[in-house]
Amino acid sequence: MKKNISFVANDRPVNVEVWPGSPALDFIRGQLGLTGTKEGCREGDCGACAVLLGSMERDGLVHYRTAPSCLLAMGELDHHHLLTIEGLSSAAATSAAAAGADKGITPVMSAFLEENASQCGFCSPGFIISLTGWLMESAILDVAGAVVAVEGNLCRCTGYGAIRRAAEALVSKFASLPPPGPERLRVLVGARVIPQSVLDFLATREIPAARTDGEDTREAQGGSAQVARPGNASPSREISATQGGTLPSPGGSIAPETDRRKSILLLGGGTDWYVRNPEPEETDDCFLLDLLPPFHRIARVADREGHPRIEIGEATTIREFFASPLLRTAVPGLENFEQDFASSLIRNRATVGGNVCNASPVADMTAILIGLGATVTVGTPGAAAYDASAPETGNGVSIADASPLSTRTFPLEKLFKGYKSLDLNEGEIVEAFGIVPLTNSDRHVERFNFEKIAKRRSLDIAAVNTACRIAVDSEGTILRARLSAGGVGPTPLYLEKASTFLEGKKLSKEVVEDAADIAVSETCPISDVRGSAEYRKRLLRRLIIAHFIRLFPDESLVQELLP
């Protein structure tokens, strides 16, 4: 079913009827004729199709995020500002000094030219989009950050040396930009890094009087099961139209209770679904979960006993997950694992729920959540949940409001029935995850670690991943332990035996090694392109030991555990 969407493509308003699930790349190249955006792999692995998407986010400000347009649903463009390489180029096209072929060279492009960072040129627009996005949004503008910004862009010609030098030049040129926000965007428009159309978009979206402070505000609302709606202070519906996340929800096309006979596509960020469906066929309906308030949120709530819990809506993006102050406080050091997850491009789109619901046995987010002891809430949302525009009233909509039908909450590991198979009833979808914050006191510490090994450190699927949450008292006795593992069986695993074994034991070389052996005994890996079964067992054992080396670096234990 086609829907009407409207957005701004560079400097032109676009109003068009599309099936919301169609990939943006094809529309950008085919319908808009903007062929500077390239198709390189159609699975988000090369970044040649990167574009910038601007929208109002839950902090009440307009932000621009990079996205691989091959994995981007057209519906996500609704009310957004799409910037392609042609749009960036227009920023410098009116420069008085520019003429002929020199027209339209922005400072980022100029850095590429100076350093000879473009050889065959096929990847260049994607790199320039990524670096421009980094200049627009990165809080700290250093070379390391620029490198992370282009980690999802492949270049086969340069070996990245010249690209790195171009990034260094940009770092010195733009060392003193204002913090991310409207002021920085204005400065960048002035510097002809980005076009005037950004300011025009800003002007249509700015609501300076009614800014919320995002999550922290909602934390203050904690104590009930009430869930804050992102951007509820905005007068326009665009405010809820922020990032999307990964995959389709359960199986990609679960019909809500209201209408079972139709083929309905429920998409998270689409970053896995489009890999499997590069040229999807139109469905009767298509819902983009990240545009739906009940599914796109992070909030601190309290359970019946008053214990704090962080609730993560299934359509929370991976970037938002790792950037969340609530989660960073609840799980200290969580941000250290952000770069283990895909690439910065993918993290802008992929969702927590999508990564889980794709049901890959080696999904990184699933391993992290199971390790943290997360619960999952599944439910059969009512029609209201699928209406992005309806709930404008009130100070937040709870899941209960949107879901008149029943919900169930249970440990995440129980969601997985078998290979790529979820324990969901007809019409049920995954709605949210819950995490109990780590605790620390005079008498105990609680820590978390995640380990992942793949052939390539960045943007690669793990051979094995594992997470560990462990509480130890001052005597070195393990109070609680949770180990998870991915890539070692048909489903993501909670290593129950190893976890139980550890509880009550004193930390020692023998205990850790025994736990690692028990962990391995709980798995049944197979051989595939990412590693043999034998390797996976050996690796898991090593990574279990690595948890303890990372988590207790000061203990003499480390020396004993090293190979």
Partner: protein, 786 residues
């Protein structure tokens, strides 16, 4: 320096690749149906469902070919579309056309190919045992290794394996074809060799070559993958256009491209090496089993480069090396930057590493001790002139402060238990010229227009190596004008005929020389005109940098005036240039000759850190000393070196091309299936993988053979430096277990690292999980799709 127009178009997104070009109204998009198993017989092709999809759908198979169903250039063993049997999994069997690409792809899915599978050969050793060769073996020999082994204190033998490598040119293969005037075919092809495409199209359509025009614009990367193998896609598009009467565009998606096209050849090799007590290598023998894939393609030329570079940068008096081109049911492996040389280098370096382990002699000292020296004779009988291996090695030792670097690494390793560091120095000696003699020629066409602007056409294809920039600089120099006056045109078979592919690092050497030859002849005419206009002897005139000089003084005759005066005197302002590399000869019978115009020398040091708990590693730093001759443009040449190094590093460590049933990968029920057929399963270097610190220094130029204006080719030689990454990681591993057998199996993935570390430990400390694997039950094999 003002940026070349091509680069400006690139960064502003205006460069138009095959899929970005406007196409005529009525153009049909194409898709290919690929074979589903390694070998089989076609019983029936049923297109009913595909044709029912949309009225625009056309389904084209071998029987629609009006001419010869043949695209093999070296040996006629390559059918455009199979008639009776398919020979590898992923072979195009049927071409589907439709008004949109999505429809064409859906049509390709709906075509059913009824067939029966036939027995297939996947591994190169399996092929050798079955006597399945593409062509007879080749042997190069010098001295008497058998005899020399008797004098050696150390004689070792071993087996070395190196995997294939996918090109991953960012722009996949493609072509646009159109029938013009009812009998002519015009093809825009993403190719390194337009003449090859022209020949294939002419053969398939039964047309003379003068009815087929092939144009190549910019390529979005090629690296050898579009040298021979672009012909298939150009010919398929032309066939589609011929049969349907519509223009046709064929642009492969990534998965089809990876499945259907050739890659770098996997090799396995057996060597024997002998060294005396003092560390002098006296004898080397090797048998190279090249997995050639299902057709000949460029395999013989690639094999000959393996043999030429069998001793790496080392002088070994007694050599016997033999290469076998093993025919298997895999895609036809093809040219990839380095062209067989990397496989040869890897074997000799593994052998030297093994000698070091056995003798206890320092591996870097062994390498240094055995380097080629000036006027050493190679095992193919060519004396090395201007040999710079020792220069590069010496400078590298100095620049890296190698002795203290080693000390620092040893100190670190003595202290650290979680991480180990390693470093390796690798010398390079790389011959420049096509190993196939006849290919060392090039043509050009130069026009000076009446306003003094200059247009140069050559056979060179621009794919980011900035060959057009080099050609423009060379042409401007030869004409005596500023480079801004020179425009280098795209390559078409109309302007320059019988081109050789832009390959073998020779693109600039050959084509710039051809342009210079043409420019010099125009320059001569202009000079004569200037002399007559000024009434002086020709010898007193010079044309330089847009100025007409008489006795070294600028006169009032401008370039524009001279050009128009020459035109008005009815003197030709155009010229065709032709160049053939002089001095090349080779006798295939004796395997002796001078196959290279010159050699490029250099050395690289790579440093690595290995996490010995997890088996992962990082490449920390690379230092490269490179013999560039007189660089035309240092930034361009550094870009080539960094890019080639990254590809070499990827091949050595990361890029894991896995065919079921080859190179130790289990065949299971799908022999010949490419398991890493997407960019999510086939990983190539990203910005984190390549070292943040790459230092490159050019050796000061010295007298000796070289190319135009004392420059040297740069495309391929630096790829070899990447192999140093393998030995740097190995060096770190050997610090854990100095007496473990040398790992000689590339790429050195984290799995192999962990396996090495695991095997290095006592089996009791960390029990193995060998024995029967736990049953996987009904689990699908591809469980790890994210």
């Amino acid at each position: 320096m003002k940026s070349p127009v091509e680069s400006i178009l690139n960064v502003t997104g205006k460069t138009r690749y095959i899929d970005d070009l406007p196409v005529p109204t009525g153009t049909l998009e194409a898709a290919v149906k690929l074979s589903a198993s390694a070998r089989g017989r076609i019983l029936d092709i049923d297109a009913t469902r595909a044709l029912a999809l949309d009225p625009s759908v056309r389904v084209i198979s071998a029987r629609d070919i009006p001419g010869t169903n043949q695209t093999g250039f070296t040996v006629p063993d390559e059918k455009l579309l199979p008639e009776e049997e398919w020979e590898y999994q992923g072979q195009p069997v049927v071409l589907c056309l439709a008004r949109t690409r999505a429809l064409a792809r859906r049509a390709a899915v709906l075509v059913t190919i009824q067939g029966e599978d036939l027995p297939a050969i996947i591994d190169e050793r399996e092929a050798a045992a079955a006597n399945a060769f593409v062509l007879p073996s080749r042997t190069m020999k010098m001295g008497d290794p058998e005899e020399a082994f008797k004098d050696c204190a150390y004689v070792l033998s071993g087996t070395v394996r190196s995997g294939g490598q996918e090109h991953v040119y960012l722009e996949t293969q493609g072509a646009i074809a159109e029938v013009r005037d009812g009998e002519k075919v015009f093809v825009i092809s993403g190719t390194q060799g337009p003449t090859g495409v022209q020949k294939a199209v002419a053969a398939v359509l039964n047309l003379p070559m003068n009815k087929v025009e092939v144009e190549a614009r910019r390529l979005g990367g090629a690296f050898g993958g579009k040298e021979d193998q672009a012909a298939t896609w150009g010919a398929l598009a032309a066939l589609g256009a011929w049969v349907s009467g519509h223009p046709v565009r064929l642009y492969l998606n990534r998965r089809d491209d990876i499945r259907a096209t050739g890659k770098r050849h996997p090799y396995s090799s057996d060597y024997r090496i002998g060294m005396d007590q003092d560390g002098q290598i006296l004898a080397f023998e090797a048998d190279y089993y090249q997995n050639s894939g299902c057709t000949c393609d460029l395999s013989p030329a690639i094999l000959s480069r393996t043999l030429f570079h069998a001793t790496g940068a080392y002088s070994i008096p007694n050599v016997r090396v033999t290469g076998y081109m093993c025919r298997t049911n895999l895609p036809s492996f093809t040219a990839f930057r380095g062209f067989g040389a990397p496989q040869g280098f890897f074997v000799i370096e593994c052998a030297i590493q093994a000698l070091s382990a056995r003798s206890g002699k320092d591996v870097t000292a062994l390498r240094y001790h055995n380097l080629y020296k000036e006027r050493d004779i190679t095992h193919y009988g060519m004396p090395l002139e201007g040999c710079r291996t020792a220069d590069a090695f010496d400078r590298l030792i100095e620049r890296t402060d190698w002795v203290s670097l080693r000390d620092r690494i040893d100190d670190f390793n003595a202290e650290s238990r979680l991480y180990r560091k390693g470093a390796a120095i690798l010398p390079v000696c790389f011959g420049i010229s096509f190993t196939k003699l006849l290919m060392n020629q090039a043509g050009s066409l130069v026009h000076v227009y009446q306003d003094g602007s200059v247009l140069v056409s050559t056979g060179a294809i621009e794919m980011g190596q900035q060959v057009n920039r080099k050609i423009a600089l060379a042409a401007a120099g030869a004409l005596g004008v500023r480079v801004e006056r020179v425009s280098v045109e795209r390559t078409t078979t109309l302007t320059v005929a019988n081109t050789v592919p832009t390959a073998a690092s020779t693109g600039a050497d050959l084509n710039a020389m051809a342009a210079v030859v043409a420019c010099e002849s125009i320059h001569k005419r202009l000079k004569a005109k200037a002399a007559s206009l000024r009434g002086v002897e020709e010898s007193r005139i010079r044309i330089e940098n847009d100025l007409i000089l008489v006795d070294g003084e600028a006169c009032d005759l401008s370039w524009e005036k001279l050009v128009i005066a020459t035109f008005e005197s009815r003197i030709d302002l155009s010229a065709h240039g032709y160049y053939a590399t002089p001095g090349l000869f080779y006798d295939m019978k004796t395997e002796r000759g001078s196959p290279f115009a010159y050699h490029v020398y250099g050395a690289a040091c790579v440093e690595a850190t290995v996490d010995i708990l997890r088996g992962s590693y990082t490449i920390d730093k690379a230092t490269i000393i490179h013999d560039m001759g007189n660089s035309f443009d240092e930034k361009v040449d550094i870009g080539q070196i960094e890019g080639a190094f990254a590809q070499g590093l990827g091949w050595a460590l990361l890029e894991d091309l896995q065919f079921a049933g080859a190179g130790g990968v289990p065949a299971l029920s799908m022999p010949g299936k490419l398991l890493s057929d997407t960019l999510s399963t086939y990983k190539l270097p990203d910005i984190h993988f390549t070292p943040g610190k790459i230092e490159i220094e050019f050796l000061p130029p010295r007298e000796g053979p070289s190319a135009l204006r004392g420059s040297k080719a740069v495309g391929e030689p630096p790829l070899i430096y990447g192999i140093a990454g393998y030995f740097a990681v190995l060096d770190a591993l050997l610090s854990v277990s100095p007496h473990a057998p040398i790992l000689a199996d590339l790429p050195l993935t984290p799995e192999k690292v962990l396996t090495f570390l695991f095997d290095a430990r006592s089996p009791k400390a960390e029990p193995g999980f060998s024995g029967s694997l736990p049953s996987g039950g009904n689990q699908p094999r591809q469980q790890c799709q994210n």
